[in-house]
């Protein structure tokens, strides 16, 4: 029988319940300690939970103990016990213990920083002549300024600066670093320039209909070919001008200079090729799709070291007689092709993320395939994939260490060479240098990965309105 509970329920709160502070287990220092350390060790409600709690407790103790020892050892090695200066220029003897003939107490084990400081220029630039270092520094400065301009959001003309960075800057860097004066004859350069200009004019006229309907159709293609000739020869021309700079062979480059050159060139050069491959892989034309897929899967399936071997050993075989690539160029070509395959996959991911409606909207407006790509799709896709590109760059930056195996002096190679310098031979020589190089790599790669995460968060926020 239903009992009337009418009067029983009616309830109105007359005064608010007090807002109380939380019990100790929730807040304050005890609360923080409980939540972050002890809570995970306290669950003994079942067998599984007990085992986990005990393991967490054991792990914590081990980590604190051994981790503490290692970290203290590292800091002691690198800072407290380290030798910082070598005022009498006695080189390795500054880091010798009394047993070896030096001044430090027996059993000393610490970093030998004068060694690193003495080798610093070598690590940064390799055997680049010291009087010409201003050229490297200038190139680097311009590059950093340009990059900062593009990244900093409030500045104007970011796109133009970015475009210049991708096109003019490499030429500038090449001239500054190698000295230009490449020896191409001005006669031939001028001839090809004129031919290129002529082709462009033909294209222009075709576009305006002066040469019949067939030409109008292909005018775009003709104009493109003409521009290729013009730009290529303009570059050749510029590279051939004698600016009075001392020519420096790439064999004299080394250290961070090489690492940055290989990584940056690899990424920048692989981007256009990667875009084309990504478009090819998504194309409706079976031949293009097949060729792109084969290319991408081939380069992604083999290790970079085999690519470098291939490039240094087989590239001379493929070229006609007399064409001689220097060692660095061979490695650059190998790195560029390798990186293009990975870049293609990243760009493909970006293209796939674009809503089909964008393609349809552009088609409805009457844009051609290339116009759609250039004006609508790629700008959006490339913004999506910036985190992916940065990640690929970080990977490439780490992979540049492999060029030391094919005889190119990158940062790691320079470090190895420094370690083998007998004038600084001490028991701590290798460890000091490895720590230094590891820290350099870590700062750079970690910084870039933080930036990539920052960009990812920013982009996903702006995308999800």
């Amino acid at each position: 029988m239903a009992v009337s509970k009418k009067q029983k329920y009616a309830f109105i709160r007359s005064e608010d319940a007090p807002v109380l502070p939380p019990p100790a287990s929730q807040a304050g220092i005890t609360g923080w300690l409980w939540q972050n350390i002890f809570a995970s060790m306290a669950d003994y409600s079942s067998l599984g939970a007990s085992i986990i709690s005990l393991m967490v407790a054991l792990l914590s103790v081990c980590i604190l103990y051994f981790g503490g020892i290692q970290i203290y050892g590292l800091i002691d090695f690198a800072i407290f016990s380290a030798v910082w200066s070598d005022p009498q220029v006695i080189k390795r003897e500054a880091c010798w213990t009394v047993d070896q003939g030096g001044a430090l107490p027996s059993g000393w084990h610490g970093a030998c920083w004068p060694f690193v400081m003495a080798k610093h220029k070598f690590i940064m630039y390799g055997p680049y002549p010291s009087e010409e270092l201003w050229r490297v520094n200038l190139t680097g400065l311009i590059g950093l300024l340009g990059l900062g301009w593009v990244l900093f959001e409030r500045l104007p003309y970011r796109k133009q600066v970015g475009a210049a960075l991708l096109t003019l800057y490499p030429l500038l860097a090449f001239i500054l670093l190698t000295g230009g004066n490449s020896g191409a004859s001005f006669g031939s350069v001028s001839l090809w320039l004129i031919i290129g200009l002529a082709i462009i004019s033909v294209g222009r006229m075709g576009k305006r209909g002066f040469l019949g309907a067939t030409f109008t159709e292909f005018s775009g293609l003709i104009g493109f070919a003409g521009w290729v000739f013009v730009i290529y020869n303009a570059i050749r021309g510029m590279a051939a001008v004698d600016f009075g700079l001392e020519p420096i062979d790439t064999r004299d480059w080394g250290g961070v200079l090489i690492t940055l050159v290989v990584a940056i060139t690899g990424i920048v050069a692989s981007l256009p090729l990667g875009i084309i491959l990504a478009l090819g892989r998504r194309s409706e034309m079976p031949v293009a799709r097949l060729l792109s897929t084969i290319f991408i899967e081939f380069w992604r399936g083999i290790p970079l070291i085999t690519v470098l071997f291939m490039a240094s050993v087989m590239l001379p075989l493929f070229m006609p007689e007399g064409v001689n690539f220097d060692n660095l160029l061979r490695a650059l070509i190998g790195v560029m092709l390798f990186s293009a395959a990975y870049m293609a996959e990243v760009v493909r991911g970006g293209l796939q993320a674009i809503d089909k409606g964008q393609y349809e909207g552009a088609q409805a407006m009457g844009l051609s395939y290339w116009q759609t790509m250039r004006l609508v799709i790629l700008p959006q896709a490339l913004t999506h994939v910036i985190p992916g590109i940065v990640n690929t760059f970080i990977g490439l930056f780490k992979d540049t260490t492999l060029v030391s195996i094919v005889g190119i002096f990158d940062l790691l190679g320079a470090g190895q060479s420094a370690i083998s310098d007998a004038a600084w031979s001490t028991p701590v020589q290798a460890l000091t240098m490895y720590i230094y190089i590891a820290v350099l790599f870590f700062i750079f790669c970690f910084g870039m990965s933080r930036y990539s995460i920052y960009m990812e968060n920013k982009l996903s926020k702006s995308r999800s309105h």
Binding site: I12, P23, Q26
Partner: protein
Amino acid sequence: MASKAKTKSVISDEVMISMDNVNKWYGNFHVLRDINLTVHKGERIVICGPSGSGKSTLIRCLNRLEEHQAGTINVQGIEINNDLKNIDEIRRDVGMVFQHFNLFPHLTILENCTLAPIWVRKMPKADAEEIAMKYLTRVKIPEQAHKYPGQLSGGQQQRVAIARSLCMEPKLMLFDEPTSALDPEMIKEVLDTMVQLAEDGMSMICVTHEMGFARKVANRVIFMDEGQIVEQNEPEAFFNNPQSERTKLFLSQILDH
């Protein structure tokens, strides 16, 4: 029309839930303040209130999805604390339906429903499937049994979620904003299922904004604000004659659109 008539309620004297001086904190934030609540078997309770008032937290404390730091909660005489056996027993008899359904996407509808009976009540597969089909028929989608959740509409998924909880034959059902994530045309089918459930005698506590449902089914409406129970009453008295200022403000905001 029959839908306007209030459902009959048979409320016994047996106490299902008693909460005494329950307090809960998230870090420094006092999220549940001095909650005192008694629920009898057969009651249907609707809890409403502005977002952040602690309504979901309150019902989640009832099956230990959230822990309370002060006060006692007893469900069917069993106290909710860190004792795992108590928690297991309570969860077997209390079912919960979530705002976002939380169906297991890698299992079929039938497997979703038979998972708990097989692994908790240790039933043979055939018996579990029989019970599952019985409840799937009750929520009116037996033909979807071999499909996957991704193939169903939102309303269908929520009905499956209700059937899944019912397969454990709970004594009490908790609903945490069951229709808030549904498209308008699907809300009715889920509410009808819940009304049918109430008419069949299930005790339930429902956090919802659907005041029509409250009027029809609830025998008690509770208004919460800032972590405390501000007002509770029978539906007519609650909607027609709210006493507290805060209740009046809230009702004016949700009823006038």
